[in-house]
């Protein structure tokens, strides 16, 4: 019975995150139109009227809001589509980091086509680094030219948006703050993080599949009932193939079918793993970087 409830709990947590996100966003101004949605550049509030010391970082967000039935893509879009791309135009003294991608969703386009992306609303977070002390300037401007593809099950539409954000900067010392707090109120769990250090992940190359083995060590009582792996790289796993979850000693194994496009063995399996369990409110996503070994039979033949 509890096992039956796990799925909905997982999705409820995701939905709650999205709902909170929307609440956080509703206080902000309207975004720039994109096909079937809006896009807005937002920044952490704490930096307003603060000085920024050299070496200090703050986060900005690309806040997408999409009409029902439309989606954008993760860094690995899966079988089709393409992720949004951003060209930054920044004030002197600022450098943009790489996009921090929230945990994606599996988007089943058809029985044979599965994509990875985001529906409804999402914030792609980009860290900004102050190379110089930004205090003398009254305002700092951040510009972003975004190119993206917005798709539904029925069609795809390319979009472009030119975004501009003006941040007032004054020469007061910066106050304590928690990163991302006002960008992503209540949505921290939709970002993948490093797994607990006691958890060990490894992968085996087993002819037609890659088997990801999770050893959760002493994490007693963790009954993982759902697991889904999102590969960071394209052309590794058959995205539409079911991922087979099997409980194992102290953890589980997840079998991922290889794609025909994978022509060379891979040394590491990198991606995002979402798991949910039947007890506790566990519904988490983790960044995985597992070494890949050849399967045991193969090793025996080639010691």
């Amino acid at each position: 019975m509890r096992a039956c409830e796990t799925g909905p709990v997982f999705w409820r947590a995701i939905r709650l995150g999205v709902a909170l996100l929307l609440v956080a966003a509703s206080a902000l101004a309207e975004g720039t139109p994109i096909p079937h949605g809006t896009l807005e550049l937002i920044a952490e509030k704490w930096i307003e009227k603060q000085s920024l010391a050299a070496g200090e970082e703050f986060d900005v967000g690309l806040h997408f809001q999409l009409e029902k039935g439309w989606h954008i893509y993760w860094i690995n879009p899966g079988d089709s589509g393409e992720p949004p791309r951003v060209d930054w135009h920044l004030a002197a003294g600022l450098t943009a980091g790489a996009i921090d991608w929230p945990t994606p969703r599996r988007l089943e386009d058809s029985s044979t086509i599965v994509d990875y992306g985001y529906e409804d609303a999402v914030v792609l977070v980009v860290p900004m680094h102050a190379d110089l002390r930004l205090a003398a300037q009254k305002i700092v401007q951040l510009g972003a030219d975004v190119k993206l593809l917005v798709c539904s099950h029925d069609m795809c539409i390319p979009g472009k948006a030119q975004l501009l954000l003006t941040i007032p900067i004054e020469a007061h010392a910066s106050s304590p703050h928690s990163r991302r707090a006002d960008l992503l109120t209540g949505t921290h769990e939709s970002f993948p993080g490093p797994p607990p250090t006691s958890w060990k992940f490894s992968a085996a190359d087993a002819k037609d599949s890659l088997v990801l083995t999770a050893n959760l060590g002493q994490s007693k009582g963790l009954h993982i009932t759902q697991a889904l792996f999102f590969p960071l790289a394209e052309s590794q796993i058959a995205n539409a193939a079911p991922q087979k979850l099997v409980p194992a000693a102290n953890g589980f194994r997840l079998t991922l079918r290889k794609t025909d496009q994978l022509l060379k063995p891979i040394e590491r399996l990198k991606g995002v793993l979402t798991i949910s369990g039947e007890n506790s409110n566990l519904s988490e996503s983790y960044l995985i970087d597992a070494p890949v070994s050849l399967n045991m039979n193969h090793e025996r033949r080639n010691p």
Binding site: S110, T112, I113, H153, D154, M155, C156, S235, D260, L263
Partner: protein, 209 residues
């Protein structure tokens, strides 16, 4: 006695084997795969003709999955690149089929006359455009995107399966510097060499089944 056993085994196993083969057929036996025979199909062209792939044994064949509303397809046609490829290769005796697998009501689903008008306007020059609104040919080849390209050699074997080129974007400006995998496969195979890049990840819009 032994013969009876064999007969009995055959008679009991036969329906099972047939059932297994039929069930597994679409995914295991007929699926297009590089190095394997290209699955045969019969298609209805926008010019009204019926096309059997098997009639083109002895020629190279290119299959191009198409959706005229998809921006990745637009990149190839608005730059004139796809038409140039069609003219270049059909001019050298290659058969080129543009295949439209969009379901009714979805982007890229068009009538025969609409497709003919599109090809005239774009000066497209495939051997024929095949209307596949039920997705039969699309699923047979597991076509995932528009465009998704296949090259079949004169022996009827798939020698290329994947993207049109190595620039997975919708930018027209990316066409010029791209490595075109279809032309490379045809050039290498015509020169008697193995295809250096026989499988790539197709990119584009999902096929709108």
């Amino acid at each position: 006695m032994e013969g009876d056993m064999k007969d009995m085994k055959r008679s009991t196993l036969y329906p099972l084997v047939v059932a297994l083969v039929l069930c597994a057929a679409p995914s295991l036996l007929l699926a297009a795969k590089v190095g394997a025979p290209a699955p045969d199909f019969t298609g209805t062209a926008s010019n009204g003709k019926t096309v059997h792939l098997s009639d083109y044994r002895g020629k190279y064949v290119v299959l191009e999955w198409h959706n005229n509303g998809c921006p990745f397809v637009g990149k190839q046609y608005n730059s004139g690149n796809m038409q140039q490829l069609q003219k270049r290769w059909t001019g050298q005796g290659v058969a080129w089929f543009t295949i439209l697998s969009s379901a009714p009501g979805k982007q890229g689903n068009v009538s025969a006359s609409e497709e003919n008008a599109y090809m005239a306007k774009m000066q497209a020059a495939p051997t024929a455009a095949l209307l596949d609104p039920r997705g039969d040919i699309g699923h047979l080849y597991d076509a995932k995107t528009s465009p998704h390209m296949f090259v079949i050699n004169p022996q009827g074997v798939v020698i290329y399966d994947g993207a049109i080129d190595d620039k997975p974007t919708t930018e027209l400006s990316d066409v010029a510097g791209a490595r075109n995998y279809v032309s490379l496969a045809l050039e290498q195979s015509l020169a008697g060499k193995p295809v250096a890049t026989p499988v790539t990840r197709p990119y584009g819009c999902s096929v709108k089944y």
